[in-house]
C-alpha cells in the first residue's frame, strides 16, 4: 500500500537520486546528503573518527574542558563541606543560580529527544544526521542538570535518598504533593528513557565498529555493547519496532518533563511564578534552548569532524527555522505574561512584571528579551539562516538568553515578592560562577569524549537517506 504522499516522495527521491541537476529546484527538496557517497563511505567517514588517534586539538580542548569540570567538582565539594552559604543565595532569594542552572540544562536536554522521537514519528528524515549527537547532548545536559537538585539542598548527603520514595522502618514517605518530588520522577524517567533510546540506536553502529575494530580493548567493548548484533533481518525488525516504541514513549516525555519542571514555579503562590502559562511556555523555551545548543555544537562538529557532507546547510537551516518558531512562542509568552499581569488586576503580579522590566534586574530581563526574541528575528532572512557563522553566533545568544530567562523568572520573582520589608538582592559569588562553569566543562568534556569514541552520526540511519537508498527498500 502506497499513499499519494509516499508516491510523491518516492518520485522526488528518484529525481534526487538522479543527481544534483534537478529539473526545477523550487519543486524539489534539497538533498539531505551532499555529493553521492556510497554506504561504505558513510561507514568509513564516521568510523575513521572513532578509530583514528585523537588529535592535538582534541587533547588540548579536552584538557581545558576537563579542567573546568574538575574545578566545578572541587567547588561542589567545597559547597557540600561548608554549606550553601558559599553561594549568593539568601533570604528572600532561596533559589538562584542553582535552580537556574538546573532548568537551563534540563531545557538543553530537550532537543535531543524531540529530534529523535517526535521528528522520527513525523518522518522528518533530516533528523538522521543530527539525532545521535543531539541525543548524546540531551543525556549530558540532563547529567549536568541532575547535579543541581542534589547539591542545592542544604544537606545533600540525606537529600540523595530522602527525596526518593524508599520504604523505611519509620514509614516516612516523601510528600507527593510537592512539585520537587514530581521533578524527581519526571527528570529521572526522562533520563532513563533518553539513555535507553540513545543506546538502542547505537547498537547497529556498535556492531559496525566491532566488525572494524583492530584494537583489542575496542573490540571487547564494542562486542559487549553491540549485544550480539549480526544485522540479521530479524534483528533489524526487532530493532525498528523497539525504536518506534521508544520513540512513542519518549514523545510525551518531551512535553512532560519541562511541564513538570515548570510546576515548581506554577504551583507556588509567588507572583511571577504562579502562572498557568508556564507549562507550554517552558516546553517551547526548552525546545528553543535545546535547538540553540544543538546548533552551537553541530556547526562546530561538522567542521571539526569533516561531516559537512552529512550535516548540510539544509540541516542548519531547518534547525534555524525551529529556533525562530520556538523563539516566537517564547516571545508570545513574555508578552502574554505582561498582559495577564495587567488584566488580572492583581497588584502583586503587576508589580513583579514592572519590576522585572524596570527594576534592579532589568538588565537581565532585557538581555533575555534581546537574545530570545529580537535576535532570532534575523532568521527571517534565508541568507542569514544559511550563513553558518551568523547562525552560530545567534545560537550562542539563544543559549545566553535562555539562561537569563530562568534567572529572570527565579531571581526577580523572589527578590521582591509580597512584603516589601523582606525584599532583597542577589549577588552571585565565585562559587556560583565556578559551579556553573564546571557544568559547562563537564558537558563539553562528555560531548568531546562522545564525539571521539562513539559514532557521532547514526551510520545505519544515514545510509537510509543516501541518495537512492530509500526507493530500494520496498518493504512498506
Amino acid at each position: 500500500m502506497r499513499t499519494v504522499t509516499d508516491k510523491h516522495r518516492q518520485d522526488s527521491w528518484n529525481i534526487e537520486g538522479g543527481g544534483a541537476l534537478a529539473v526545477d529546484p523550487h519543486d524539489l527538496r534539497e538533498p539531505l546528503v551532499e555529493g553521492t557517497p556510497k554506504p561504505a563511505d558513510v561507514t568509513e567517514t564516521v568510523s575513521r573518527v572513532v578509530e583514528s588517534k585523537p588529535t592535538r586539538l582534541w587533547y588540548a580542548t579536552v584538557t581545558v574542558t576537563g579542567a573546568l569540570a574538575g574545578w566545578g567538582i572541587l567547588t561542589i565539594l567545597y559547597t557540600v563541606f561548608t554549606g550553601i552559604g558559599v553561594w549568593g543565595n539568601n533570604q528572600p532569594v532561596g533559589w538562584a543560580w542553582d535552580i537556574t542552572n538546573f532548568v537551563f540544562w534540563i531545557g538543553i536536554g530537550h532537543a535531543g529527544t524531540l529530534i529523535s522521537a517526535i521528528l522520527f514519528l513525523f518522518r522528518q528524515k533530516w533528523r538522521t544526521a543530527i539525532n545521535r549527537a543531539a541525543e548524546a547532548m540531551t543525556i549530558f545536559a540532563v547529567i549536568c542538570a541532575l547535579i543541581f537538585p542534589i547539591i542545592h539542598t542544604g544537606r545533600p548527603w540525606v537529600a540523595v535518598y530522602w527525596l526518593l520514595p524508599l520504604p523505611n522502618q519509620m514509614e516516612m514517605w516523601v510528600n507527593f504533593r510537592s512539585p520537587l518530588l514530581w521533578d524527581v520522577f519526571a527528570v529521572s524517567t526522562y533520563f532513563a528513557v533518553s539513555a535507553m533510546f540513545w543506546f538502542v540506536g547505537l547498537v547497529p553502529d556498535f556492531a559496525t565498529l566491532r566488525n572494524r575494530a583492530k584494537n583489542k580493548i575496542a573490540r571487547i567493548a564494542f562486542t559487549f555493547f553491540s549485544m550480539g548484533w549480526t544485522g540479521a533481518n530479524r534483528h533489524w525488525h526487532r530493532y525498528e519496532k523497539a525504536y518506534l516504541i521508544l520513540a512513542g514513549i519518549s514523545t510525551p516525555l518531551v512535553l512532560s518533563v519541562h511541564t513538570i519542571v515548570s510546576f515548581d514555579f506554577a504551583v507556588s503562590v509567588i507572583p511571577g511564578w504562579h502562572t498557568t502559562i508556564f507549562p507550554p511556555y517552558f516546553v517551547a523555551g526548552a525546545i528553543f534552548s535545546g535547538f540553540g545548543m544543538v546548533l552551537t555544537l553541530m556547526i562546530l562538529a561538522r567542521k571539526l569532524l569533516n561531516l559537512e557532507q552529512f550535516i548540510t546547510v539544509k540541516h542548519i537551516e531547518n534547525m534555524s527555522k525551529v529556533l525562530m518558531a520556538t523563539g516566537l512562542m517564547v516571545g508570545y509568552a513574555y508578552g502574554i505574561e505582561f498582559f495577564i499581569a495587567w488584566y488580572s488586576g492583581n497588584p502583586y503580579e503587576r508589580f513583579v512584571f514592572i519590576n522585572r522590566a524596570f527594576g534592579p534586574y532589568s538588565w537581565a530581563y532585557w538581555t533575555m528579551v534581546s537574545c530570545n526574541v529580537f535576535i532570532p528575528q534575523l532568521f527571517w532572512f534565508r541568507g542569514i539562516r544559511r550563513n553558518l557563522l551568523i547562525t552560530w553566533i545567534i545560537s550562542i545568544f539563544v543559549n545566553i538568553g535562555m539562561w537569563f530567562e530562568r534567572f529572570v523568572i527565579i531571581v526577580t520573582s523572589l527578590h521582591r515578592d509580597f512584603l516589601p520589608s523582606s525584599w532583597g538582592m542577589f549577588t552571585p559569588t565565585w562559587v556560583d560562577v565556578s559551579i556553573f562553569a564546571g557544568t559547562v566543562g563537564l558537558f563539553l568534556t562528555l560531548f568531546l569524549v562522545f564525539a571521539k569514541y562513539l559514532p557521532v552520526l547514526a551510520i545505519s540511519e544515514v545510509k537510509g537517506i543516501l541518495p537512492g537508498a530509500q526507493p530500494k527498500h520496498g518493504h512498506h
Partner: protein, 1018 residues
C-alpha cells in the same frame, strides 16, 4: 566534625594513606583554616593552597560523610538537692540600667541561667524586660569576660591586686594627695551606702559618679526649678495628651520599659472602649518614640527652644498666668509661634486635658527648664499628678558639677590615685581629653567586667563579676526595693564582685574596715536588716529576707520629696532659652544620641545586640551618619558613602545613611560602637561617637563639618527603605499588608479600615471562607493555637526579638551574612513608611511565622519536613529537613530562615551554656522558623497532665515574644476556647489578616494601627 578526637579515628587513618602533608593534616583537624573566624563565604581567608588542600581532604572525608558533632552526656553521680534535670528553676533578681532598676525572673536549667524575663510581681517591670536587659544573659557567658587580674600586665590574683591597690592608696594619701573612685550610675542603696563608707574609711577619698552617657539637663533643671535633685518619672498612663520634645522615652531612655508599659495601656482602642491617649512628638532626630507619634512635627535642632517657648506662650495664654510671676510671663510675649502652625492646636489639646510634656534627655538644662515650666503650667507636677515627685530615678541627682570638679582636680595634679570602678572613660571621652586628664595621676586602677579601653591606661586591672554572679540590691523608681541574688557561681573561678573588690581594698588599707561585714553579701544583708527589716513588723530577718528573695521585691515607702517652685531660677533659665533661641545656628549640626541597641557600649560585645536592627534605621553592626534626603543631596552623598565627620573634639569616618523624617542640615549618630578593647565581637564595629563630644555632656548637639571621603562602606540593614506606596516605579497598592486609620474614623465606622471592599475579616463572623483546593483541617477537638498582635500598641522596642533569640537559640551570623540577607531572627519588626519623605508616618508590624492553616510551605516540601499539627501549628522537623529552601521561597511572608552556614560552629566556650536545652541547636543546611514556642506548649501540657487535665488554662502557655512585650501587644492562646483572651482579641473590629487574599488562613490576627490625630479625619 568537631575538634574532639573521638569520632575522628577513622578519618585520621584513612587520611594518612592519602596524603602526608602535615599542613593539610592540621587543616583537617580544624576542618577550616585557623584564621577562619567569622562565618564567611571563605573567599577572604582561603588561599589557593589551602583550598586545594581542603578539597583533597574533603574528597578523603567523603567516605566518612558529614556527621554532626558527637557530644557526651554524663548523668549526675550524686543528684543535687532541689534540682530535677529537665525542669527549669526560676529565681528572682534585678537588673540595673543606669539609675533604672527592674525586677527580673531568671530561668535556670541544671544550674545555669538560660533566659531572663521580667518579674511579674515587680511593679516596674511587670514581668517584662527590655532587649539590653535580656541580652545581658549572653554577657554572663561571654568568653571575652573570662580574664585574669593583672598587675603591670602580668597575671595576678584578686587578693594581690587589692593589696597592691591599697599600698598605692596608702602611699598617695600619705603624701597628702587624694584618691578618687570613679563609678557608674547605679540604683543600689547598698552601693550608695558603701560609697559613703569608703569615703569615710580612706582619707582624702571621694567617690564620683561619671557615667559614659552624661546628660545633666533633666536633673539640673529639676534641682533648680523644683528643688528636687532627681529625674522625675511621669506616669504616662494617666496622661490624655503627651507631647514629646525629641524625647526617646520609649527607646534609649533607661526607664523606657516603664514608659512603654504605661504608654501602651492607653493605645489599644476598641469600638466598645474608645479610650486612647494622644501623642505629639516634635523632634529633629527620627527617634523610635517619635515614630510612634499620632502627629510628628519635624523641627530643626535649633528650633526646639523656640518651639517650647511658643508653646509655653500659648499655654500660659490659655491657662492664665498660672503660678508664674511676671518675670516669666513678660519674657514670653516675644515668642514667635508663626513658624509652627500646629502649635495652637497642640496647646489647646494640652490645656484641655490631663497632659504632660517630655523633654529629650540629651537636651540642655534650659530646654528641660522650659519643659518643667510647661508641665507646671499644665498642672502635671504635684502629688498624685502625672509627674508625682514620689516617682524619680534613684540616685539620679545632677552630676555635671561633680564631674567638672573632678576634671579640674585631675588636671591640677592633686589626685594621686584613681580607681575606675566599672566605668570606661577612655572610651567615653575623646582620647586627647582622657589622656590629659590622667596624665598627672600617679596610680590608675581599673575594675571592670571586660578589659575595656580604660584598663590599657591602668597598672592594675581586676575583672569583676557579672550581676548574675553577684549579690546586690536595687531601689526602683517607685521606691520599692529588690535583692540582686546570684544565679550561678562565678564562671571565672574566684572572681570577686566590684563591691567586694572595693571593700577588699579598704580592708587591705586597714584591717578594721568592714570587719563586721567582710563580704558584700553580708554588707547588703546588713543594710536590709537595718533599713528594711527594722520596722517591717516581721518576726525573723531570715523569713523576711527569704520572702524578699522569693517575690523579688519589697514595697518600701517612697523617698519623700516635695516641690518647692523656684520662680527666679525659672526666669533665669527662660532668659537663657530666649537668648539661645534668638541666636540662629548656621551650618551643619551633629546630634550624638545613645544607640537604641547598645546604649553606651558597655554591652557592645554581645552579638545579640550588635545584630539587633536599630528600631528606626534597621541597621546592624554599625553606627551611621543619619541624615535627611535633602541633606544628602546638599552634601552630594548617597547611603554608604563614607564621610569625614569633624567636630572640635575629634573626627571619625561614618557612612552616610538617608533616613526619612530627619531634620535637614543635621546629622545624627549613635554612641556605643567603635569599641577597640571591648572584646572580639565588638572590635572595630562602627566608630566611637563619644570621641566627637567635647563635654561636659556626652550626648547632644554640636556644630560639625562634614566632607565626603570618596570611599564607601556597606551598611548591613535588615530592611531597605520601602514605603508602602513609595517611589514612582512601584506605585502599587499594598494596603492589604498594613491597616491603619484614625481613631475618629474607626469609631464612626470600623469598616473604614478595610479598603478594596473586602469583608471585615478579623471579626470572623462575616466571613465566607473562600474555597480552597487544600483539604480542611479538623480543629474541633483540643486546642487550636492562635495569636493576635496589636500594631497600635507595638512601639517597635525589639524586646520580642531578643526574647526569641534567647529562647530559641538563634545564632548571631555577623555583618557579612546580614549584608547577604541571612540574618536568622524568627521575629522581625517590619517597618513601613507612608506619606512624604520628610514627614513620614511609620507603621510597625511584628512579622513571624503566621502558622497558616493552608500553609504554602507545607505543600511544597518534598520530604514532608514541615507539616501541620492537629492544633494548628505549622511544624518544622529539623531532622527531616534536607534544605531545598522551597518552603521559604513559597512563603508569602518570608519568615523562614535557612542555616546557610554552620552558624554555631564558631561559638566559643562557654557561650554554648546560654542555649536553651528545650530547643534544638540547628546545624547548617536546615530551615527554621517560629514554632509558636512549641516547647513551652509541651511543657505546659506536661504539667497539665500531671494535674489530670487534658486542656490547658488560658494563659498557661506564654510565648517568649508575648512574655517579653512591654506593650502587651501580643496575645497567644487557644482559639477553640471562646472565652480565651486570644479569641476575644481576634473578634476585635480592628482585626485583619496580612495578605488575606491569598487564602492561606494565617493563625495570627493583626489589629489595625489607630492614630489618634487631632481633628479626627486628618
Amino acid at each position: 566534625m568537631s575538634d574532639t578526637d573521638t569520632s575522628n579515628k577513622t578519618y585520621w587513618k584513612s587520611f594518612r594513606e592519602l596524603g602526608k602533608d602535615p599542613d593539610v593534616l592540621e587543616q583537617l583537624k580544624h576542618e577550616f583554616p585557623a584564621d577562619y573566624d567569622e562565618p564567611s563565604s571563605g573567599a577572604s581567608s582561603m588561599t589557593r593552597r589551602t583550598f586545594i588542600g581542603l578539597m583533597a581532604a574533603s574528597a578523603a572525608l567523603a567516605a566518612t560523610g558529614c556527621r554532626r558533632p558527637e557530644q557526651q552526656i554524663v548523668p549526675y553521680v550524686r543528684k543535687p538537692e532541689y534540682l530535677t534535670p529537665g525542669i527549669a528553676d526560676q529565681f528572682t533578681t534585678a537588673f540595673t540600667h543606669q539609675n533604672f532598676a527592674a525586677g527580673l525572673l531568671v530561668r535556670s536549667r541544671e544550674g545555669r541561667p538560660v533566659k531572663i524575663e521580667g518579674n511579674d510581681l515587680c511593679s516596674i517591670s511587670g514581668g517584662k524586660a527590655m532587649p539590653l536587659t535580656q541580652a545581658s544573659l549572653l554577657s554572663l557567658y561571654d568568653p571575652d569576660r573570662m580574664l585574669r587580674p593583672t598587675v603591670h600586665d602580668s597575671d595576678s590574683t584578686p587578693l594581690n591586686a587589692m593589696r597592691r591597690m591599697a599600698d598605692a592608696v596608702r602611699e598617695v594619701t600619705g603624701k597628702g594627695k587624694s584618691v578618687r573612685i570613679i563609678v557608674d550610675e547605679h540604683a543600689s542603696p547598698s552601693l550608695a551606702r558603701l560609697y559613703g563608707e569608703l569615703e569615710a574609711m580612706i582619707p582624702n577619698t571621694r567617690v564620683v559618679t561619671w557615667p559614659a552617657i552624661a546628660a545633666g539637663g533633666a536633673a539640673e533643671a529639676s534641682r533648680q526649678l523644683l528643688g528636687i535633685d532627681a529625674v522625675l518619672v511621669p506616669d504616662l498612663s494617666r496622661a490624655d495628651v503627651i507631647l514629646g520634645v525629641e524625647s526617646d522615652f520609649m527607646g534609649t531612655d533607661p526607664e523606657a520599659l516603664y514608659h512603654i508599659r504605661n504608654f501602651a495601656k492607653r493605645r489599644k482602642p476598641e469600638t466598645g472602649a474608645p479610650d486612647m491617649s494622644r501623642f505629639y512628638s516634635a523632634e529633629a532626630a527620627m527617634t523610635m518614640t517619635g515614630s510612634n507619634a499620632d502627629t510628628r512635627i519635624r523641627i530643626r535642632p535649633g528650633e526646639i527652644d523656640e518651639f517650647l517657648l511658643a508653646l509655653l506662650h500659648e499655654v500660659v495664654a490659655a491657662k492664665g498666668r498660672g503660678g508664674f510671676d511676671s518675670a516669666i510671663v513678660s519674657q514670653l510675649s516675644g515668642a514667635d509661634n508663626s513658624r509652627f502652625p500646629e502649635i495652637r492646636r497642640i496647646a489647646e489639646d494640652l490645656t484641655s486635658k490631663p497632659s504632660v510634656v517630655m523633654v529629650g534627655r540629651h537636651l540642655p538644662v534650659h530646654t528641660h527648664a522650659l519643659g518643667i515650666m510647661l508641665n507646671q503650667a499644665l498642672g502635671a507636677i504635684g502629688d498624685g499628678g502625672i509627674i508625682d515627685p514620689k516617682r524619680a530615678l534613684p540616685f539620679s541627682n545632677a552630676k555635671t558639677a561633680g564631674i567638672e570638679a573632678l576634671k579640674k582636680e585631675l588636671q591640677s595634679g592633686s589626685v594621686g590615685a584613681v580607681i575606675f570602678a566599672d566605668v570606661n572613660p577612655a572610651y567615653a571621652l575623646p582620647s586627647e581629653t582622657f589622656r590629659s586628664l590622667i596624665s598627672r595621676v600617679l596610680y590608675r586602677f581599673s575594675l571592670s567586667e571586660y578589659a575595656g579601653e580604660t584598663s590599657k591606661f591602668c597598672s592594675i586591672f581586676v575583672p569583676v563579676n557579672h550581676y548574675l554572679e553577684s549579690w546586690g540590691d536595687v531601689r526602683m523608681l517607685d521606691g520599692s526595693e529588690a535583692v540582686v541574688q546570684p544565679q550561678i557561681a562565678p564562671l571565672n573561678d574566684g572572681q570577686p564582685s566590684m563591691a567586694d573588690t572595693l571593700m577588699g581594698i579598704a580592708r587591705a588599707f586597714d584591717a578594721k574596715n568592714f570587719e563586721a561585714t567582710p563580704t558584700w553579701y553580708e554588707y547588703v544583708q546588713k543594710r536590709w536588716r537595718e533599713e528594711r527589716f527594722a520596722g517591717s513588723g516581721r518576726p525573723s530577718f531570715t523569713g523576711f529576707w527569704n520572702d524578699a528573695l522569693r517575690s523579688g521585691r519589697i514595697d518600701a515607702s517612697p523617698v519623700p520629696r516635695s516641690v518647692s517652685w523656684n520662680g527666679a531660677a525659672a526666669a533665669a533659665q527662660l532668659r537663657t532659652a530666649v537668648g539661645k533661641a534668638s541666636t540662629q545656628q548656621k551650618g551643619m549640626t551633629l546630634g550624638v544620641l545613645p544607640s537604641s541597641t547598645l546604649y553606651d557600649g558597655r554591652y557592645a560585645n554581645l552579638g545579640w545586640l550588635m545584630e539587633l536592627p536599630d528600631p528606626v534605621t534597621k541597621v546592624t553592626w554599625d553606627n551611621v551618619a543619619i541624615m535627611s534626603r535633602t541633606t544628602a543631596v546638599r552634601l552630594g552623598v548617597e547611603t554608604g558613602d563614607l564621610l569625614h565627620v569633624k567636630t572640635k573634639a575629634g573626627a571619625v569616618h561614618l557612612p552616610a545613611f538617608i533616613q526619612p523624617g530627619v531634620a535637614d542640615d543635621t546629622i545624627f549618630t549613635q554612641t556605643g560602637f567603635g569599641r577597640s578593647e571591648g572584646g572580639r565581637v565588638s572590635a572595630d564595629k562602627g566608630v566611637n561617637a563619644f570621641s566627637l563630644m567635647p563635654g561636659p555632656d556626652t550626648i547632644g548637639y554640636l556644630p560639625v563639618s562634614v566632607e565626603k571621603t570618596g570611599e564607601t562602606l556597606e551598611i548591613a540593614t535588615t530592611q531597605d527603605h520601602h514605603s508602602l506606596s513609595g517611589d514612582d516605579l512601584y506605585d502599587i497598592d499594598r494596603t492589604e499588608i498594613v491597616k491603619e486609620g484614625t481613631l475618629a474614623a474607626f469609631l464612626k465606622n470600623p469598616a473604614s479600615l478595610y479598603k478594596n471592599d473586602l469583608p471585615v475579616y478579623g471579626a470572623e463572623k462575616n466571613t465566607d471562607r473562600p474555597i480552597s483546593i487544600m483539604p480542611e483541617h479538623d480543629y474541633s477537638k483540643g486546642h487550636r493555637w492562635g495569636m493576635t498582635i496589636d500594631t497600635s500598641a507595638c512601639v517597635g522596642c525589639n524586646a520580642c526579638v531578643i526574647a526569641c533569640v534567647s529562647e530559641n537559640n538563634i545564632p548571631v551570623v555577623g555583618k557579612e551574612q546580614v549584608l547577604r540577607g541571612r540574618e536568622m531572627h524568627w521575629i522581625r519588626i517590619d517597618r513601613y513608611y507612608a506619606g512624604a519623605d520628610d514627614s513620614p508616618e511609620t507603621l510597625l508590624q511584628p512579622m513571624l511565622c503566621q502558622h497558616c492553616e493552608k500553609a504554602p510551605c507545607e505543600n511544597v516540601c518534598p520530604v514532608a519536613a514541615t507539616t501541620h499539627s492537629p492544633e494548628g501549628l505549622n511544624e518544622m522537623t529539623y531532622n527531616r529537613c534536607v534544605g531545598t529552601r522551597y518552603c521559604s521561597n513559597n512563603c508569602p511572608y518570608k519568615v523562614r530562615r535557612f542555616n546557610y552556614l554552620n552558624y554555631h560552629k564558631d561559638d566559643r566556650e562557654p557561650v554554648n551554656m546560654v542555649f536553651n536545652p528545650d530547643v534544638t541547636v540547628r546545624m547548617r543546611g536546615i530551615m527554621e522558623k517560629c514554632t509558636f514556642c512549641v516547647h513551652r506548649i509541651n511543657e505546659a501540657k506536661f504539667h497539665a497532665k500531671n494535674e489530670g487535665r487534658d486542656m490547658l488554662h488560658d494563659g498557661e502557655v506564654v510565648t517568649a515574644c508575648q512574655q517579653a512585650c512591654p506593650a502587651d501587644a501580643i496575645v497567644f492562646g487557644n482559639t477553640n476556647d471562646p472565652e480565651s483572651a486570644v479569641s476575644k482579641h481576634r473578634a476585635s473590629d480592628r482585626g485583619y489578616h496580612v495578605l488575606r487574599e491569598l487564602n492561606v488562613l494565617p493563625s495570627i490576627t493583626y489589629k489595625a494601627k489607630i492614630r489618634n490625630t487631632n481633628g479626627g479625619n486628618a
